[in-house]
Structures are given as C-alpha cells and as structure tokens.
C-alpha cells in the first residue's frame, strides 16, 4: 500500500480529482497549504514598508492506493496538474504500514 502526497496549484484540484476518479481511486483528502520551492517569493510594498511574499497558496492532496493502482494514479496527477510553468508542485510517495476503515474495522488493502 502506498501513500501519494501531491502538492499542486489550487486551481488544478478539480481536474486532478476527476482524473484520479477515472483511474479507480476512491478516496482523497485535500488540505490548503502554503509553500515555496527553489524560486522563493517576490517583494511588495504596503504604505512604504516592503514585505516579501515567500509563501504561495497550494493544495496538498493525500491519496492511498494499492500497488497496482500506483502507476496510473501518478500518471493521472502528473498529466492534469502540469502547466509547464514554475510552481507546478511535487509528488511524494511513501509506503504505508497499515490502513484501517473505522466503520467496519477492515484492514489492509480491503480498507483502501
């Protein structure tokens, strides 16, 4: 079982969600976050004081898949979230120790 965490541009959320649903992913968590990468931010001025906008708004998607669905899910995210411009985001894949469905108590791949 794998956990996919993808940081994407906020306006891409609907597209990515639709593409993931199409490849068979049945659940998804989205969180509003702020972040920056190698480009950092830019400077603005308010009433004579300068301030930097380092952090840009992003959305963090968390999806759990079984090993068979991993490659299609990654491809779906990459295809829909990419714009070709700076700030498209990153994907992190990690292995999960356990998955449990709270309502029924199912464990493992059945709980995904």
């Amino acid at each position: 079982m794998k956990k996919i965490e993808a940081i994407i541009k906020p306006f891409k959320l609907d597209e990515v969600k639709a593409a993931l649903t199409e490849v068979g992913v049945q659940g998804l968590t989205a969180i509003e976050v702020k972040g920056f990468g190698r480009q950092k931010g830019h400077t603005e001025t308010y009433r004579g004081s300068e301030y930097t906008l380092d952090f840009l708004p992003k959305v963090l998607i968390k999806v759990v898949v079984d090993n068979d669905h991993l490659a299609p899910a990654l491809e779906a995210i990459i295809k829909t979230a990419r714009t070709g411009k700076i700030g498209d985001g990153k994907i992190f894949v990690s292995t999960l120790d356990e998955v449990i469905r709270i309502r029924t108590g199912e464990k493992g791949e059945e709980a995904i």
Binding site: T45, Y46, R47, G48, S49, E50, Y51, F55
Partner: protein, 604 residues
C-alpha cells in the same frame, strides 16, 4: 481598589444629580485675582418641555451672510436714568425706539392675526433648526461605526475583538464624561453669544473670563453640569446631543493610533478623561466663546480662530492625542527594525476599511452642514457640496500620489486615508470657500496624508491606521487653508469681528456703526481672495495652541493613568498572541484559523 473607587465615585455623582443640592449657580461670580467679568447675560429662561421655545421673538436676524429673518416684534426700550437723559444722542435713540415700539403696539392691536402668525413662523424657524441639528447629529453618531470598521479592517485579525470594543466603549465613556462636566466646561457660556438658531440657550450663562492686557480672555465654561438645574432646556439638550457626537469623534481617533497594544483598562481610563477634561478646554476657547474665537474682536486677527465644523476642535485634537499616546506607548512589536526601516503588518480586512470610509463620508454630511445649527441657513448646500468635493480630490490625490510617485500601486488603504484627509481638511473651511477652493485644498490634503504617514514611520512613531496623519496633520492644514482660500462670501461678523471693504478698496476691521457709506461687510476672507495675512495668522495661533495644549493634556492624562495602572501596554506575550482572548475574553472571529505567522513580523 481602583474598581471600588470608581464605583463609589460614580454612585456619588449619580446621587448628586438626583438629590439636587442647592449649589450656587450664580452668573459671573468674579474670580479671585481677576477683574469683574463681562456683564451678566439676560436671566436664564429654561424650557424643558419645549412649549415656549420658538416664538415671535425668534424672528429677526439670521446666520452671517445668510438669509436674515425680518424682525417682527419690537420691545419697549429700557428707561433712561438721570445721567443718560443728559446725553442728547441717547435721548434721541430712546425716542426713536419708543416710537417704533408704540407703532408696533398700535399695529399689533389692529392686526392680532398677523401677530399670531408671526409667533407660529418664529416657532417653525426654530423647529426647522432643531430637526436639522438633531438629525445631522444622528448622522455623526453613525460615524462611530465607520471609525470602528476602518480601524479594525486596517489592523490584524487577532486584535479585532479588542479594537472593535475600544471603539464601542468610547461612545458611552466619552458621552458620560461630557454629560458630567465636559459640556459645561465647553459651552457653559454660549447663551450670551446670541446666534439664537436653537432659541436662546440663555441658561448657559457662565463663562469664566479673566481680564488681561486690556482684553477679555474666556477660559472655561461653568454652567450645564449634568444638564441639570436650569440648563434642563430643550435648546440646551439639542446643543448637547450635537456637540457630544463631535466630542466622540475626537475621542475615537486615538484608539486607532494606539491600536494593537493598548491595554483595555488604560484605554478606559483615557475614555473617562477625554469627554470630561481633555476635549472641552480647547473647545471652549474656539466654540465656547473663549479667547481664541475673540482674537479678531480683541486684536484684529481676522475673525479670530475660525473653525466651522472642527478641523482643529475635533480632528486635530484627536490627532495630537493620538500622536502623544502612540509615541509614549511605543510601537508594536516587530514594526521597526534597528536600522529604522519598517516591517509590514498587513490589514486583515480591506472591505471593512472601504465600507467604514464610506460610512464616515456619509456621516460627514451631518458633521459639516450640521454645524450651521440651522436648517434655515441655506449656505448648508454649499457646505455639503464643498465637503463632498474635497473628499473626492482627497481620495484621488492620495491614490495617484501612491500610484504614480510613491509605491507604483493604487493602495486601497491610502484611498481610504486620502478621502478622510480631504474630509478632515474641508471641515474647517467648508462654509467659507467656493468649490474650486474645496477641490484644491482636498487635493493637497490627499498628498499631505501620504507624505505624513511616511514621515511618522521615519521618525519611529507607529500609527497602524494613519490616524495621526489623517486627523492631526490635515486638521492643521484644514484650519490654515481657510486663511488661504476663504472667499469672503459667508461669515460676516463671525466671532464678533467685522471686516469691511471700503470704497477705496482697502480691507479693514471696524465697528459697524463707524463704517463709511459704500463699505461692504465681508465674510471670512483668506490670503488668495484679498483678505491679507490676518486670517492665516489667526488660524496659525489656533493650530499652535491646539498642539501645545493637547500635548500637555495628553502627557498629563498618560502619566496619571500610568500612576494608577502601572502600564498602558499589554505584555509582549499577549501582544504576540493577539489581544482578543487575553484582554477581552473572546476572539473576534471564533472558528476562523488565523495565519499568525504572516501577521507578526520580526524586527531585524
């Protein structure tokens, strides 16, 4: 201990008002080290039910430069004593007056209906003025909401509950201080000034005056405490309501300058002082018949310190108090770096700030035109329009100055500050300038407020909402501008000074009875309209006096409060967390996750 003291003091004061002990309410008791005061005004005539205010006697006269009601009723002349009978001029004048009175008595007997109708007209004149003054007063009260929104919107979300509640409480605190003694100090002697748009208010007949260097100096009023005894009168109550909402405008200005770090209890003690002591002193000197208003009549300085609706009395007073308190309390944590540069603390709600500014601009339609205290004075149309125009050029001036010159973006917060600066600046001259003058001085105000904000940042005074620059700097500019842009069309005889343009073109002050034939009495006239430097000098004296007096009063109150409470400022932990929960017990936005990291910069 402080709470018990305040509670018992309040109880004692209320007991005093209810039980009405017989305190001496004399008119003009001579002061210990001063010469006798000016002659007693006519005996007080109070009217709590409104049944006898507004009569045939209120026909006659009108606002300076405005419609003059024809005098209808003629009174019998005062009898001459033995000495007077030797003066042929006095005897001639007496005979003329007696004849006029006899003619009137004969006509009144022949046409009783005309007399009854004149009485109704007199009542209607006063009634229009009452309605006008009260309704414009209600508009100004609504400005409290505008101030609350502007200040809270330009500050951070974690302090919303605290900032809003300061603006809420200043309304009752200021009002009650004004009721207890502030109104009496400020307006205790205005009954003698005449004017008469609200009836005579003759019970306000005690202005403490000293006689120095050959002139009278009105210093403070001493009538009207608790609006009780013979000041329980419809005219006085009308005046009180109107003047109270102006006082509360001053009172709320420092809450913006000292926002986001002012301990609520310290603010409350300030609130007790503003309406009762701080505001009325200078106010009496300008609007209460005091010495600043008499500089024209006494020393030929224009029409004295002229301030139609309060650029100095209301706004500059608030700005100076804000300046001293912001300076003494110190800047917010994280605002300034060691090298003097500033860190940004972004406003959390621009929509509040814009909405608040519109509410203030709307309320200003009560503030300026209402200061005529007369719906029958049609100059109010000019006043209102000038007000509106100055707000527009103030806004555009500030926005364009930011956009084209300073930061290259049309800053919304400066659009707000600019509109308000234009409004503050026009507040003094609104009745005395034409529309071009209004536009011009508003434009200058818009640019001035931007530069002033940058200036105060540079000298290390943290003003989160620009209150000092909007109200202090432009309050001063507003007063000076009447010395430049006053066009003489309105305000003849203002503050008891009479200026005439003589047939040979010279412009000078003289007694109306000595004015030669062909001389035209002028209103308030400034440098650009042939009035010379005189009015500008008078305004300068007033502005300087305001700055000095309010600085001293602010220092005094600051240190007294510090003595009682130990500090004016919240602790650093509270300031960083946000004042809402520690000071007020409840957040402004429960359930809303705050982005604390971006709200609190670190000083470098």
């Amino acid at each position: 201990m402080t709470k018990k003291f305040i509670t018992s003091l309040t109880a004692l004061l209320l007991l005093l008002t209810v039980s009405r002990p017989t305190l001496a309410q004399t008119t003009n008791a001579p002061a210990a080290a001063a010469a006798p005061e000016t002659p007693a005004a006519p005996a007080a005539n109070n009217d709590p039910s409104g049944g006898s205010t507004g009569t045939i006697g209120d026909l006659g006269g009108g606002a300076a430069g405005s419609y003059t009601y024809p005098t209808f009723q003629v009174s019998a002349p005062a009898d001459l004593n033995a000495d007077d009978k030797k003066d042929t001029n006095k005897v001639a004048a007496f005979n003329d007056a007696k004849k006029a009175f006899d003619d009137y008595t004969k006509q009144a007997a022949a046409e009783p209906l005309a007399v009854k109708m004149a009485d109704a007209v007199g009542h209607n004149r006063i009634s229009i003025n009452f309605v006008w003054t009260l309704v414009t007063g209600f508009l100004v009260m609504f400005m409290q909401a505008g101030f609350a929104l502007v200040e809270t919107g330009l500050c951070r979300a974690k302090n919303a509950s605290h900032t809003m509640t300061m603006n809420m409480l200043i309304y009752p605190l200021g009002m009650l201080g004004f009721w207890v003694c502030g109104f009496a100090f400020m307006f205790g002697g205005v009954g003698a000034l005449g004017g008469g748009t609200l009836g005579s208010c003759s019970s306000l007949n005690h202005e403490y005056t000293v006689h120095w260097f050959g002139h009278d100096w009105g210093l403070i009023g001493l009538k009207g405490f608790f609006l009780s005894w013979d000041t329980y009168d419809v005219g006085v109550f009308c005046l009180f309501l109107f003047q109270m909402v102006f006082m509360d405008t001053t009172a709320t200005i420092p809450t913006g300058a000292a926002a986001e770090r002012w301990k609520f209890s310290a603010f409350c003690l300030y609130g007790c002082c503003i309406g009762s002591i701080m505001y009325p002193v200078f106010g009496n000197w300008v609007w209460g018949g005091g010495w600043l208003s008499q500089m024209g009549a006494n020393w030929g300085l224009g029409h004295g310190h002229v301030d139609f609706a309060g650029s100095s009395v209301v706004h500059m007073q608030g700005g100076v108090i804000g300046l001293i308190f912001a300076w003494l309390i110190g800047p917010r944590i994280g605002k300034f770096n060691k090298d003097g540069s500033t860190n940004t603390m972004p406003p959390h709600n621009i929509p509040y700030a814009i909405l608040g500014t519109f509410i203030l601009a709307f309320g200003w339609f009560g503030f300026n035109p209402g200061s005529s205290l007369a719906g029958t004075d049609l100059r109010i149309a000019v006043v209102a329009t000038n007000t509106m125009l100055a707000s527009a050029t103030g806004c555009m001036g500030a926005v364009l100055w930011m956009w084209w010159v300073r930061t290259k973006k049309p800053d919304p917060s400066m659009a707000c500050n600019g509109m308000l600066a234009g409004l503050v600046a026009i507040t003094c001259p609104c009745a005395f300038v034409d529309s071009r003058g209004a536009c011009a001085l508003g434009l200058i105000a818009g640019i001035l407020v931007v530069e002033s904000v940058f200036f105060f940042d540079k000298i290390g005074i943290d003003d989160p909402v620009g209150a000092i620059s909007v109200h202090g700097t432009n309050g001063a500019w507003g007063c000076l501008s009447v010395g430049l842009f006053g066009d003489g069309k309105y305000g003849q005889g203002w503050n008891g000074a009479h200026w005439f343009t003589l047939p040979d073109g010279t412009y000078k002050m003289m007694d109306p009875s000595l004015a030669p034939k062909g001389a035209v009495e002028e209103g308030v006239k400034g440098l650009f309209y042939g009035g010379g430097w005189s009015q500008l000098e008078a305004e300068f004296v007033g502005v300087l006096t305001c700055f000095i007096t309010l600085s001293l009063l602010s220092f005094f109150v600051y240190y007294v409060v510090k003595l009682i409470l130990g500090t004016h400022r919240v602790t650093a932990d509270v300031e960083l967390e946000g004042l809402d929960v520690p000071e007020m017990g409840i957040a402004g936005y429960c359930g809303v996750v705050m982005d604390k990291q971006s709200e609190t910069p670190t000083s470098k």
